[in-house]
Symmetry: D2
Subunit: 462 residues, 4 copies
């Protein structure tokens, strides 16, 4: 339950359906876990683009009547992550621009590592920027390629860009979906009757009743237009290295990423943990909601009963703030309550998907001990999180990552666990069903598939 990790965004697009905006709203609903800060949809009826976006959840931004004003048979939508503070309507997506070829809307999940460099270069040429989003850089690059047709301009632009992304473009007549050359961010293709759909995760296809067709390939562009669908290898196609953290934490358990079901992968991670780091215990508890699958896998493999040792209050939202120092403890308990009758006197295996700063884990172990747990053995279904992500996951800087600063034994002591074991990188890969080199595991290994720019790394203009 790494509250300190934040996924950037989710994208959804549909082409050729008379309820395009309505279905995009449904798709965004299914992708809501990927971003709760803002939501937006742009549609096209062939004569102009229609956009509505706002701060908040999809259900807050689109109230039932709003999407009815987004007419047309194609649409793209976007949900954006939640941060504290600098959230801003200006940065809500889709980004809509007018340029020489007309109107263009862009929805983007990911991060461009060389965006600051490109931005400075564009500014030196007289460009103006109205947002702090990488996406605006892409729009400028495309507009600069004025002599080329759109797909060629897109190709020329993306050749200058380095990073991880799933990008959707909507013009009056076309929808284009592109995935980065390493396939770090997920993007899938589906079909709903005659209409085509694309989405960050397949759970969005289920939400609209679409069928999964295939995943978009690394470096591939899928173009939907008046003459139908065509797939173009826009950029060099590298061996896929999908973000392993999508499997570990971000994606919904009912999504299949590059052909692998997320819940099943998590369960295998839990099983691997149980095999590699067995422990004599009375029950297995998962941190809700993201670690339930791994915990049940651990329990099954170890033959130890799985129990609901922690109950999450689903009504405690992001806005709940507790002003008084002395009420803080109560506030923690509000969100997560240990089940005293279940854990009292017991030796507990606590399964979580990751430890970022360590503060949450420390509190949970403390809660379990207060509830009477005799022993608390922590099992983490991922390797130690040591390196910052530059590909679209907004974690803290490396100086805040506990595994970058301490040994496992020191972390164990810090969180006050009786034992602490992390899943190995190779066990992670095999649990997912890949070779180690077939995933992005930069946050664990420091092996960044896309070089990170000039020592500065993460793009943080604001």
């Amino acid at each position: 339950m790494p509250a300190e990790v934040r996924e950037m965004c989710g994208v959804f697009g549909i082409f050729g359906h008379d309820k395009a905006a309505m279905l995009t709203k449904l798709g965004l609903f299914a992708l809501q876990h990927r971003g709760q800060e803002s939501a937006g949809i742009t549609s096209s009826d062939g004569t102009r683009l229609y956009t509505h976006k706002g701060m908040g959840l999809v259900s807050e931004v689109f109230d039932g009547s709003t999407e009815a004003t987004l007419i047309g048979e194609s649409a793209i939508g976007h949900v954006r992550y939640s941060t504290t503070g600098s959230s801003n309507i200006t940065n809500a997506q889709p980004l809509v621009v007018r340029y020489a070829r007309g109107e263009l809307a862009i929805a983007h999940n990911g991060n461009l590592v060389n965006a600051p460099t490109l931005r400075r270069s564009l500014e030196a040429d007289g460009s103006i920027f109205q947002t702090t989003m990488d996406t605006e850089v892409v729009a400028h690059l495309i507009a600069k390629e004025g002599k080329l047709d759109f797909v060629s301009a897109l190709q020329a632009s993306l050749q200058r860009v380095r990073g991880a992304y799933a990008l959707l473009f909507l013009s009056l007549r076309c929808l284009v979906a592109v995935r980065d050359p390493f396939g770090i961010r997920p993007l899938s293709l589906g079909k709903l009757g005659e209409a085509w759909v694309v989405a960050s995760e397949t759970c969005a296809f289920d939400a609209v009743g679409a069928e999964f067709v295939r995943d978009v390939l690394p470096g591939e562009a899928i173009v939907f237009g008046p003459t139908g669908m065509s797939a173009i290898q826009l950029l060099p196609r590298n061996p896929a290295r999908l973000c392993s953290f999508e499997y570990i934490y971000f994606a919904r358990p009912d999504s299949d990423l590059d052909g692998i079901n997320v819940h099943s992968a998590r369960k295998r991670m839990g099983r691997a943990l149980a095999r590699d780091y067995p422990v004599d215990a009375d029950l297995v508890v998962g941190v809700p909601d993201s670690s339930i699958s791994a915990a049940s896998g651990f329990a099954e493999e170890a033959g130890i009963p799985y129990e609901m040792g922690l109950v999450k209050n689903k009504y405690v939202g992001r806005t709940f703030i507790q002003p008084e120092q002395r009420l803080r403890d109560a506030s923690v308990r509000l969100k997560l309550n240990p089940l005293r009758r279940v854990v009292d006197g017991k030796r507990v295996v606590l399964v979580d998907d990751s430890i970022v700063r360590g503060t949450t884990m420390k509190r949970i172990v403390c809660l379990l001990r207060e509830a009477g747990a005799r022993e608390v053995h922590v099992r983490v279904s991922s390797p130690p999180y040591k390196y910052s992500c530059y590909y679209g996951i907004d974690t803290s800087s490396q100086s805040e990552l506990v595994a970058a600063l301490m040994s496992v034994e020191d972390i164990r002591r810090a969180v006050n666990a009786d034992s602490l074991c992390y899943l190995s990188e190779s066990a992670l890969a095999s649990s997912i069903g890949r070779e180690p080199g077939q995933l992005c595991t930069a946050c664990f290994s420091g092996g960044y598939p896309v070089p990170v720019a000039d020592g500065e790394g993460k793009y943080a203009l604001e």
Copy 2:
């Protein structure tokens, strides 16, 4: 997952703490599952009462600054259930009245079966009513007993009342908590330092860091006042018959009701189902969130893997409405998505806590079959729901209860299950850890512990 069943309310009170209103807010947060329609708090500083109430969730009604205006060292709070339509600020609680003895606030969970009769009698005597709540009847009765001290007036009033209730009263100097003579609705007593707390469920004690002391006894009043706490057997004390549906569905798994943990009871219900109605299957799936405990109990007892076969979208709230007929199916999928990779080709045991109208169950079985389930065996962790509740649970009228209209075999056919079995009443009782006569099971057996009034039964003035 009976969306058709609605619990009435939750109550919380605290006496003798300088953060009374703030802690009441935390307590209501923990009880939010018992009512999402409205929330309210009344506090007392010994000179007057302070009240704030509004429509919506606790976090919407109390924004952090509001509760700061509710000064004083004692407070009571209330959350009210959500319905479609007639929800109304007039019916939000606490109900605050001024009468001969000064100000009085009342918070109420439950239902009085003879309220219409009492109301007519009071009206005939010249009383006026401003709400449609039973609670207003209680206020009138107390005010009429002008010559008696408050506790005696309360006793005289409650002797005229028949029903199921947990009632909290707050005057300038006292807080009184009363539980109905059969203890049908739950009410527990706790302690937070020197302060006393009462709540519908013990999870609210955990939320404020209070310790459980004991449950309030049937017919007992606990009086907190300037001279301390005293317990009075206000009404005849019958053998306790706590509502069995609190264990089956309403209460939070981390609450202990009359000494029994809800999660553990549910797990035993699942185990009993597995023993009594075994089935040859590949996996066990529970309907989230309320049936997870029972499903995992079934899986453990049967030795069949428990799987996350259905994923719930936690962002789909009560306000999501789908206008278009042809998008309805998508709307169902939005809320609950089957995990195709898990259920495809499998024989599934589907555990749910109850079947009320049958429509939800039919849709879930259909979703699983569409996802490839080869067989779907439904196991319900409660007996057939055949009789309307008159004690505070707002189900549909009996004519809408599918088990009142059809045989089990007919229901099985209607929901398109391969098999369908219900937990027996005796297994239910033993799973909870009681004798059959020690619970209210009126909705299953028709045996109403408190006689239901004059053939009309349920009070429905509006």
Copy 3:
């Protein structure tokens, strides 16, 4: 421009029109100046009452769709005054109660001087109160008269009540309008096609396109029911003594009260001032908006040009609060700006309708002097305001009324005027077109037509 004086309320009713609620909304719009704190409408379709009320302006409470839910052919509506602080949805009207005869809604403009006494007596008999409004006392009294028909019960109840009021009652089948025995608060009767309308002011008739029929007489009840309209002299009919402050300040200039147009009366007050207290000056300025009529009357009579010497910012609403001490002056200027080019170097006659505490007048004189006015002669179109009103106008207590504390000369010095003259009581009466005894001038003379209760006077339970 006495910001320190607050009128209580405005009422509107309609009987026998298929757009009853919609027209009531229009009527309340026209009466909005009488109260901006809350608004509410209750309608009847003969089977039940429908109510919607809320805090804020009519346009905020009724958004176009809300009034559509208030079905039926009769309705009453209410707007309530704005105060700082204790404003509260509980006190919004119409007050709706259920009692032996069914449902009853009440809308009330005015004040009952013996309400506290009646309330204590009712409480002693076991009654409960949920609001702090006089109106609730009336509802109790009516309900107590259970054996009588409604009109008789109303008569018996109002015989026990002392005060000033315009009261509207709506039951399932009838609408009843009553005016107090001295006619202190205004109430008029009109007709719109076949439908009957009643309103606090005739401007509401214009708003709905109704024709004025006559004013309701002191002590008279007008009953609209299935058998048509009937007028009943419910209480002793005293010689009318309409509140003179309605003419001076409250009522809209386009309203006719008891047959006299408000604008014209104000203009005559200005003329009388000019005749009685002439002054050698260059221009006449009225304090907007309420003193424009009197100022133009003064200018015409005196033959001095009337000028727009003060401009009011119509966008500065009640919620504009200036936190910083040093920005206060700017805040005053925001609301009222002197027209420097007009007043610079000039001798100004400043006409205002009244001086309550004197603080506003002091600031305005100061503004004019800063803008270059050489002399400022204040002329007030009413006598010195010396006595608190107990009949529905919520002024400050007598200890805050500057004219109760100081001589006219002292006030002149305090507000820094070159001269200060008040209209005499007899000139006020003749300007309105009445004999002195035909108006309520209690706030000027202390001659209260209805005796004020037991030395405590104003009812202030909260």
Copy 4:
């Protein structure tokens, strides 16, 4: 009362005050009449810009706490006009961009006639646009002049632009105010202690307690920076031709534009009307609020009493919509009510400031006749409005301007007046106190001081 005419915007800036944003809010309050659709403020603390903008009135967008987050000692603010439909947060100002020189905020009142041409040219060079505002064109032009210092870049950019404007620019360290070469849009300079202020109208200076210094000259730029204030004749300085409609309708009566008080000018227009088009009548009525000054001027000159013959309901806002056809008439009356007792049987001179489409005037004449007016003589305090404005006033297209389509006699008949006279252009100019060539009167004469682009004229991309 030309509801069909809409002024674009108002601007306010302050440099060197520690309450910059707070005072900008006060300034915008005073300019609220120039735009009610959106409001925004950008401040600078020397290290970055802070912006808040939103839809609605200043009091809705800035709630007291918002402006506290806009730190720094310089700020610019903007209010934007209200339209039906295409209002959009994207078009709210200030527009904030990042470019090679850093951050820049722009607030703009006016219109650029060659914006579409410039835009196409910029797009051809690869620029992208995110709004439909002219202002964005200016931002692009400035950014393109990368080698020049800011003021030189501004000069080079504005040399390419044709139109009418008051422009405010805020960078980290400087605030620049520019007025178009003909001074068509107003812009004044003031001083508040050590701080400098600029505003569309001087009433904003009064609101913040600033003193008027002088008007910005045509083509002049005033630069406020770390080294103080400097005035630069940035563009050729033409003889001033301030928009005559500012005097006639837009500006607040307490503002002085280019040294002339608006109220006084309007009063002289009314006097001129009375001299040039006398009429035998009983009273003079002005259409509130904008025609009150002219009407009182007419009354004084003609020796006919000025009367409040029409009362405006100040609570009827822009959002009041009347769905039902049969309630439309009531809706008109809601906003404007004739004073029957004043006009009944009388010969009325009705003074209005302009007639655009004629529909409003027709309704008002009709209201007066229904209220009993024997004759209605319309006097318009401006010449016939025949030509569309391309300089920032969003009137209807020429095909909707009644004076472009009909003779005066035909209009008289259409609005059902007994007589109809317009002020002549020369009388207009002399009333204002200018020679005819010293004002922009394009809407009356078709003589556009700035050539309107290529036959297409008005810029209407959206």
